[in-house]
Amino acid sequence: MKQFQLKTLLATVTIISILFSCKKDKNVLVDQPVATAGVYVLNQGNFGANNSSLSFFDYTAKTTTSDRFNAVNGTKLGDTGNDAKIYGSKMYIVVNVSSTVEVVNAKTTKSIQQVKMFNGTVGRQPRYVVFNKNKAFISSYDGTVAIMDTTTLAIEKYITVGRNPEQMVVSNGKLYVANSGGLSFGNPDKTVSVIDLNTLIETKKITVIANPVSMAADSYGNVYVLSAGDYSSILPGMTIIDNATDAVKTTSTTLSGAYGTSIVVSGDFAYFLTSDNKVVVYNVKTQTVAKTNFITDGTAIKTPYSIAFDSTTGEVFVADAKDYASNGQLFAFDKNGVLEKAKGYPVTVGINPGTIVFVNK
């Protein structure tokens, strides 16, 4: 309750300061810590139904816009929005089957440009985006990572990596790319490509547990890779790579995440979803499991589908895909793992909510 009031107060102050944005108030804004205006949830929708949508939950008004991309721009995202991230003032929405990257103003959702990811008439099927020094790196199922300039939005280069690359992470001046090979049943890829961010050339491939999908890095020199295995003989698990030597430090099948969801690291802790619907907290400093389930109040999430951590508040967000066919929900838990009902959670979002993005005021 206390936290809620503080948050409300903060939000109110900020809103007032925006509404009456007199110059003399500017200091108020600057003095405040970064405040979150709301949260976007990118819903993948149903396959082949062009119903990917961008839900927006406004913290202050406590209202949800079911598809803010459509409401603002009059067009729809298309088929299977797979990733969204904010870099600078822009948000980059990666739409898998439509093979586009929609670049929008992060605050207003107003479209800036739709970048088509095609090789002739073949959609490259982009999957994820990460950023480094004014460049966006976009992995695509056609086995490439595209480099896009974040000012001109022009694609400058395609780097060939392994099969069906998924998530990427920037660590120690290098880009690590999870080559899943997930479209070859029974024969997944099992490598992580390392790209030198100065030369933009793939320098090596690191062998990890088969079918790597999710990635994150901490400040202790570790790169975490969650793999799905081959669904029969090879179990899913986690590979930890040393970002100085690019050697594999650990492989563990006791640590494994839910398929295709993200692992997020903030400070000394990593958070990820497990296939048995729990939120594991992993201490990256001690390399031990800190909590087997972050959720303490017994809130049941039917199908955890994505996770995010708000480092400004210590809240953990989990989106629930339910039956994969109807609307999902967004849950937010305070730092004690208690569902924040007073803030209006759970919030109804769209079908298959796969990505959660916080937007600052």
Binding site: Q44, F47, T100, N164, G260, Y324
Partner: protein, 673 residues
């Protein structure tokens, strides 16, 4: 969805979900001619008698002479006006068309070809677009089951039965052969030719052979709604080439001692235009079909009233799905599926007393499935059906009942399978005629039935074994039929009205998962369907060579999801189920010319389980017109027709992302020698 779901979806959907369209067809006789014939046969009455209405279970039928009136090119088009029927049409000349009767889905309707089921154990649904009408004599839909007791056990084993009957040779000593040739052309780059040859060998033997070839480029314009485009797009990669042949040999000693054997082949090669994906209009997937079956029927009635019906069938269904650009290690997907079935049915019926008949049928089927996909189980399914049925008439009552015993056993070469399963399914039906002098009858039936999980649901990319129970339906129906022969402004009126309730449990739902190891099907669904079907048919007497015909069918369906009270889709209408559908067909005949107008109105639907505006698919009103003319040139009967479909060029879709064509045309010409 993420990653690995894609291969599954890519090939499960296209490989089975979009198939051809074929021919269109036009009745051999336009209605002007046929009505003349009818009139001659019924010289003793001044007006025309109402067509016979099946009273025991709701039944709707169309015969050869009706097809033009409904602008029908294939079986799916012909039955779209039926009440209680929802045709799932993926659009275009090569688009899959399946039937859902009373919201139960295609898997609950058995499709019979001359009395023998066209079975598809792999995905449980029959694409009705692949049956052209050039050799079809009659199509009937029985909700529940047909009234006849002497039939294969499979006819008792579905929630509804769609029966397709082919043309039989009608030759005499003075007319030893008949050749019928036709051609159709029109929109979608359609070129369709067909030939039917009937030959009398002697008094007892006759042959009939049919061939039907279709080519179409499949292109049509459509409007994409939602991607910001303001021009029309062209549907591409929808071209179709198909050939359907059927040759049958008939032996008829007498009406009570006859035999026939069919050889049937269907081959098709088509592009799959796929779902319209915003900003990515390219598709290059292909589907090839090679289906072959041979079926034989022997029917005998002895003087003792004992009847015997034997049916045998061997079939092979081959499907090839090719995706030339797929981001796996090979860079493409090329998958082959072969389904083989051996089927034998024996049915016996006996009239115990003049008003009491009993029957027993038993069907055995062995299906083997082969597919070159990852980790396939290579399943075989053995099904044994036994039915005891009885029909009893007494005074104002007719009572019929049967008990079906199903035994299912599967074996697999890899992985595991479920235990053998035995199910008992009862059906009870009754009619009551309260007024002796009126053709007014009240009817009711109860039928408990199930459909087993399909082999795809059980074994398609089943990394983890799936235990799926059959999907059960309890059908309850109450209704009445009323027929009045008149002798004034109208010849007759027939009116049928039925209210029904379907209770679906263990509904098999696909549950896509992030993780393909869990990607599965499960029995989590419950659906309650309440509905009303109304059918009306009438025509005017022939007056100065003019005649008017009218039929109207109305359907109301409330099909609500009762699966999970905590789900946001609980109590919502299930996907793709319009609440109200109205189908009107009006025609005018003048001498040898017939003009018909067909109208289908459907209210909006939702394409997901959530009935919110985000997921709304708007309703539609589609009008078709046709004109047919029959004449004789050099003693040879010729018929010609013009059809315009979607007259007002309405932009609509039945399945989201699968746009239906706008206005389209078809010209047909047929000659009989």
């Amino acid at each position: 969805m993420k990653q690995i779901c894609l291969p599954g979806l890519y090939n499960s959907i296209p490989a089975k979900k979009w198939l051809v369209i074929l021919t269109c067809f036009i009745a051999t006789n336009t209605f002007a001619q046929s009505d003349t014939t009818k009139k001659l046969k019924q010289v003793m009455v001044t007006g025309n008698l109402a067509p016979k209405v099946e009273t025991l279970t709701p039944t709707q039928q169309l015969s050869r002479t009706d097809f033009t009136r409904y602008n029908a090119f294939n079986v799916a088009d012909a039955i779209r006006n039926f009440s209680g029927v929802n045709i799932k049409d993926y659009g275009g000349i090569g688009g899959l068309k399946t039937i859902s009767v009373r919201s139960l889905g295609a898997n609950h309707t058995a499709v019979l070809f001359d009395g023998v089921q066209l079975n598809d154990a792999q995905n449980g649904q029959i694409d009705l677009s692949k049956f052209n009408l050039s050799n079809v004599q009659e199509i009937a839909l029985f909700i529940g089951q047909p009234e006849n007791l002497l039939q294969p056990a499979r006819s008792f084993a579905s929630a509804s039965v769609l029966s397709i009957k082919t043309v039989k040779p009608v030759l005499t000593q003075s007319k030893l052969y008949q050749v019928q040739a036709g051609i159709k052309s029109g929109s979608f780059g359609l070129a369709n030719t067909y030939l039917q040859w009937q030959q009398r060998i002697n008094k007892q033997w006759a042959i009939i052979a049919n061939a039907n070839y279709v080519y179409a480029n499949g292109r049509y314009k459509y409007k994409v709604d939602g991607d910001g485009s303001d021009t029309l797009a062209v549907r591409r990669n929808g071209e179709v080439k198909s050939i359907q042949t059927d040759a049958a040999l008939y032996w008829t000693k007498s009406d009570s001692n006859k035999f026939n054997i069919h050889l049937n082949y269907y081959g098709a090669n088509r592009g799959l235009p796929g779902a319209v994906i915003f900003y990515n209009p390219y598709s290059s997937q292909r589907l090839e079909n090679n289906d072959f079956f041979v079926q034989a029927t022997y029917e005998r009635t002895w003087n003792s009233s004992l009847q015997l019906l034997l049916n045998s069938k061997l079939s092979q269904v081959k499907t090839r799905y090719l995706d030339p650009i797929f981001f796996n290690q090979q860079g493409f997907l090329d998958q082959h599926y072969i389904q083989k079935e051996e089927y034998q049915s024996v049915a016996l019926a006996y009239q115990l007393t003049s008003n009491w008949k009993i029957s027993y049928s038993t069907d055995a089927s062995l299906i083997k499935m082969d597919a070159d996909i990852y980790n396939y189980a290579y399943p075989s399914r053995f099904t044994l059906l036994n039915v005891l049925a009885t029909n009893y008439r007494k005074g104002k009552w007719q009572l019929q009942g049967n008990l079906l015993y199903t035994y299912l056993k599967e074996t697999v070469e890899r992985g595991s399978t479920d235990q053998p399963r035995s199910v008992l399914s009862p059906t009870l039906m009754a009619t009551f005629k309260p007024l002796p002098d009126s053709n007014f009858e009240v009817r009711g039936f109860y039928k408990s039935i199930f459909r087993p999980a399909t082999l795809d649901e059980l074994y398609f990319y089943a990394i983890v074994p799936r235990a799926i129970k059959p999907e059960f339906v309890k059908q309850y129906n109450m209704g009445f039929t009323w027929t009045k022969n008149l002798n004034n402004l109208l010849d007759y009126i027939t009116l049928t009205t039925d209210a029904y309730y379907n209770d679906v449990t263990n509904k098999i739902l696909a549950v896509p998962n992030q993780n393909p190891a869990i990607f599965s099907f499960s029995n989590i669904g419950k659906v309650a369907v309440k509905g009303i079907d109304i059918g009306l048919k009438t025509q005017t007497p022939l007056h100065n060579n003019w005649r008017g015909l009218l039929s109207a069918n109305f359907t109301y369906q409330q099909a609500t999801d009762k699966s999970d009270p905590t789900s946001s889709s609980y109590n919502n209408q299930i996907p793709y189920t319009p609440k109200n559908t109205l189908a009107l067909n009006a025609g005018v005949n003048y001498r040898r010319v017939g003009v018909c107008y067909n109208q289908i109105l459907s209210t909006g639907r939702y394409y997901t389980g959530n009935n919110t505006p985000d997921y709304f698919v708007p309703g539609y009103a589609i009008s078709d017109v046709s004109a047919a003319y029959k004449f004789v040139t050099g003693k040879l009967p010729v018929s010609a027709s013009v059809e315009v479909n979607n007259l007002f060029n309405e932009n609509y879709a039945i399945i989201r992302s699968f746009p239906m064509p706008g206005r389209s045309y078809r010209l047909s010409f047929q000659i009989t020698i």
